[in-house]
């Protein structure tokens, strides 16, 4: 039998879009695995990367060839912290009262799954795609101590969320420390109302989950005769305890994160990533020792007390210590410019005296976020056999002037900047007079 937390009630129905074997010729390739190839060729076949080489690659007839001289190629960009679809456009005053991104009725909601909140017609998905984003992790919001399960999506247009779900991607759980939970609930006179309350609440919840998981394991081993009741809240945390569900913890301050590193050790699980991690640069050695990624912005700071010490060298300093760093968006606007985020963070590091190559910095938005998701064997780099998630950029991906010319997911071209027929447009955007061109105004209307 399958343990209840390992069941897959809403399985992926994703199927790659129609695809064509493609050879990209003459590009500067940052492969995501730390290498740079100049004047290089990339072959995609049957949805997989076959080769990246500076030598000519022989291809069978029928392979599409793209001349990419002067252009750059990277793996598809991975955003491990998006709320697209859950915090969807158009945002309305009704969402102010009851948004789909957080279940705000109580602080502990490990039983909710954000995939049930996703509006697949959110126009933000296609805009992220135009920014080269091929994989997104959608997270519940950070009001709750335990906010619920995340979902990993392929950034393909679809009419159901199942059709976007990344097949076989591990689930994650969103948790939050610090100011958000204590204010979200403390201001209503509810628990928690303090940082110590935050930690106590999560500890209590995990104690129960340990007991719950123990019952199931005893039942499986035959020590227990009666099948335990299935508890949705405990399922998610039991999955955390056995390593099948990855922990994504919203947390800003070094002291808060250090507390939670110890807590995770006490409970026997690994934190996949601290998200936002504005003060990660103060404790980079703890990220190394705990095999946890710091998922950060390039420059957000100051909008609340726990963000006061944000510095632009955060990513570079954590990286310099040998820890895993990834950039994230948390915003549908920023989510269109994640490569630029990596560029900005790397530039700040260089200005502080560190040596950070483009082929290294691109990992902050490709292979490292793939590691955060537990998908590093399938995406995040252009090594042979990996999924052909590829972005062909008009130039240096770290330049503000560069655009994604073409984006491929599993070898299928899902976005082409020069061809409106290959630019997905959500249902919401149809028939909106404000989006159509006016006489004398040129452009494609979105």
């Amino acid at each position: 039998m399958t343990l209840p937390w390992l069941r897959d009630p809403w399985p992926s129905t994703y199927a790659p879009l129609p695809r064509q074997d493609t050879l990209i010729v003459g590009a500067t390739v940052l492969d995501g695995a730390g290498h740079r190839f100049d004047h290089a060729n990339l072959l995609m076949r049957d949805g997989k990367v076959v080769a990246v080489s500076t030598a000519p690659i022989a291809v069978p007839a029928g392979t599409t060839t793209i001349d990419a001289k002067g252009r750059w190629v990277t793996p598809g960009i991975i955003d491990v912290h998006s709320h697209d679809g859950a915090f969807a456009a158009p945002f309305t005053s009704l969402d102010l009262q009851a948004s789909d991104v957080s279940e705000t009725s109580e602080p502990m909601t490990p039983n909710v799954w954000v995939e049930h909140s996703i509006t697949v017609q959110d126009p933000s998905f296609a805009r992220a795609l135009a920014g080269g984003v091929t994989t997104l992790q959608i997270l519940p919001g950070s009001n709750n101590l335990i906010g619920g399960r995340s979902v990993v999506l392929k950034n393909v247009p679809a009419t159901t969320v199942q059709a976007m779900k990344f097949p076989g991607a591990p689930y994650g759980v969103k948790m939050a420390c610090g100011e958000n939970p204590k204010y979200a609930f403390g201001e209503k006179g509810k628990f928690p109302s303090s940082r110590m309350g935050n930690v106590a609440g999560v500890r209590e919840e995990f104690l129960e989950a340990q007991e719950y998981r123990g019952k199931w394991l005893d039942y499986l081993s035959g020590e227990r005769k009666k099948m335990p009741d299935d508890e949705l809240k405990e399922d998610t945390l039991a999955g955390v305890l056995d390593g099948s569900i990855r922990v994504h913890w919203h947390c800003y301050r070094a002291d808060d994160m250090a507390t939670l590193f110890d807590f995770a050790r006490e409970e026997g699980f690994r934190i996949a990533a601290f998200h936002h991690a504005v003060e990660a640069y103060k404790i980079p050695q703890l990220f190394v020792a705990n095999h946890t990624c710091a998922v950060v912005w390039s420059d957000w700071w100051g909008y609340k007390m726990e963000a006061l010490d944000g510095i632009r060298e955060n990513a570079a300093f954590v990286d310099a210590a040998g820890a895993c760093v990834a950039m994230h968006s948390d915003s549908p606007w920023l989510g269109q410019h994640l490569a630029l985020e990596a560029g900005k963070a790397a530039a700040a590091g260089r200005r502080a005296g560190l040596s950070i190559s483009p082929e290294h910095a691109i990992q902050w938005v490709t292979l490292n976020p793939a590691r955060v998701l537990g998908l590093e064997a399938r995406i995040g780099s252009l090594e042979p056999g990996k999924n052909a998630d590829v972005v062909l950029w008009s130039g240096d991906p770290f330049s503000v002037y560069t655009r994604a010319d073409q984006v491929f997911i599993d070898g299928a071209m899902v976005y082409d900047r020069s061809n409106p027929a290959h630019q997905p447009r959500s249902d919401f955007e149809l028939g909106q007079p404000s989006m159509t061109d006016r006489p004398g105004v040129s452009g494609n209307g979105h």
Binding site: P332, H337, A347
Partner: protein, 438 residues
């Protein structure tokens, strides 16, 4: 005007008593040589290569290709780098907001009380804000700082222009614009219909026109605007203060144009997601637009027409534009310098000519908000706000090498650089905790 008197007085002090004031460097002569100077003195950005830029007594004296620096000048070799005037962000809350989530550090808006149009942000400015050195370090030397809300259904109050200089004297121009806000998802708290907002706004100007400042009290019993607010509106009309309308929907932008025509107001549209849809109308009526170039998502029903090439479309139609970047409101003040440059770069990536983007960061907002007589270009006599860039200023990976404000070279130390230096990887094995480092 009060501002001009203050400026004149300031100049006399700088010239005669500079040492006493402690800004002796303002009286220095500085020459930046081998600069790629964007002087902002022509419609094409006034680029001069291999320029020698001379600053004397805090002001631009000359910019000339290959000229020899004056013998008494301190010489800075730009080595071919791009040099621009200090930049200006056209919509921030700098000096009014320290930590956005902490109410007592936020003086940008009201949630009650009698003040509407009369709310004037100049009295709450905090020259010791830790955000200011960071903005300056990013090459931002001027910024509009503006109100966010009052209890009035439409008026937000009056904004000011800041000069971001060390030493406390940051108010460049008070009452630079009167702000009104129309529509948006908060409309339910403002009466429930934007029709009412427009009717109330129009009524306020009608009342202001007939208001007699010499007999201000009592106001007629059925007058909606109280005496403080009506006096502020009347003073606004008399001073030709621009009306800055925060609106994004096309219908509201058109209503604003009609209102401005009826009352002969100088109109600035703030936001303007759909302004491109009436670009010709805006150009014909000399309406300026402050845009957020990142805002390309139909985020609310007021922004359905948002698009990445708005800036390019507006500029092509001849509309004067300037920039702000909200970034979920996080970038509005806390990265007011870096984010607005990045926004300008994105506008260029989406078709805006490069020189137009630089103008939208300098002379354009200077003209919109009434400080073009002393800031915005390298024309002789203008305040010597200047940045030597280590790369293309519109690339967010670039940064200033040297910043001057009114002829004074800015310190490059900020709270962020101190944290950076304290936690630099080279300190990883220091025996003492970071608290013992500078």
């Amino acid at each position: 005007m009060a501002t001009d008197k203050r400026r004149l007085f300031g100049c006399l002090l700088a010239a005669g008593l500079g040492l006493v004031l402690g800004d002796a460097t303002a009286a220095d002569v500085v020459a930046i040589v081998h600069a790629q100077a964007w002087t902002m003195t022509g419609a094409d950005g006034g680029r001069i290569d291999d320029a020698t830029i001379v600053i004397r007594d805090g002001r631009y004296e000359s910019v000339a290709r290959g000229a020899a620096p004056p013998p008494d000048a301190r010489v800075i070799d730009a080595a071919g780098r791009t040099v621009t005037p200090g930049l200006m962000n056209a919509d921030t809350q700098l000096g009014l907001v320290e930590v956005s989530s902490v109410p007592e550090t936020r003086d940008s808006g009201l949630n009650g009380g009698p003040l509407g149009a009369a709310f004037d942000v100049q009295y709450g400015l905090n020259a010791n804000s830790m955000l200011l050195p960071i903005a300056l370090d990013d090459g931002l030397t001027r910024a509009v700082t503006r109100p966010t809300a009052t209890a009035d259904p439409v008026f937000l109050g009056m904004g000011a222009v800041l000069r971001i200089q060390p030493g406390g004297d940051i108010l460049d121009r008070p009452r630079a614009a009167m702000y009104a806000g129309i529509g948006g998802i908060g409309i339910g708290q403002q009466g429930g219909s934007r029709s009412a907002q427009w009717q109330l706004l129009r009524n306020a100007f009608a009342e202001a026109k007939t208001f007699n400042p010499s007999r201000p009290v009592p106001a007629p019993r059925d007058q909606l605007q109280n005496v403080m607010n009506i006096a502020a509106l009347r003073a606004m009309l008399d001073a030709h203060m621009p009306l800055a309308v925060r609106a994004t929907r096309e219908s509201d932008i058109r209503q604003a144009v009609a209102l401005a025509a009826d009352y002969r107001l100088r109109l600035i549209v703030i936001g303007g997601s759909e302004a491109w849809r009436c670009a010709d109308l805006l150009a014909a009526n000399k309406v300026a637009v402050v845009l957020d170039p990142e805002a390309d998502i139909p985020w609310t029903f007021d922004d359905l027409g948002a698009r990445a090439d708005s800036a390019a479309l507006l500029a092509k139609a001849g509309v004067t534009i300037a920039f702000t970047v909200s970034g979920n409101t996080i970038q509005l003040s806390h990265n007011a310098g870096s984010a607005v440059r990045e926004g300008a770069g994105l506008a260029v990536a989406n078709g805006l000519p490069y020189a137009d983007a630089l103008m939208a960061l300098t002379v354009n907002p200077a003209r919109m908000f009434g400080i073009a007589d002393h800031y915005g270009s390298m024309a002789k006599g203008q305040d010597a706000d200047l940045v030597v860039w280590d790369g293309d200023p519109l690339e967010p990976t670039s940064a200033p090498k040297t910043v001057f404000v009114r002829g004074v070279q800015a310190s490059r130390t900020t709270r962020q650089t101190l944290l950076r230096d304290r936690y630099a990887p080279s300190h990883a094995h220091d025996p003492l905790p970071p608290a013992y480092r500078p």
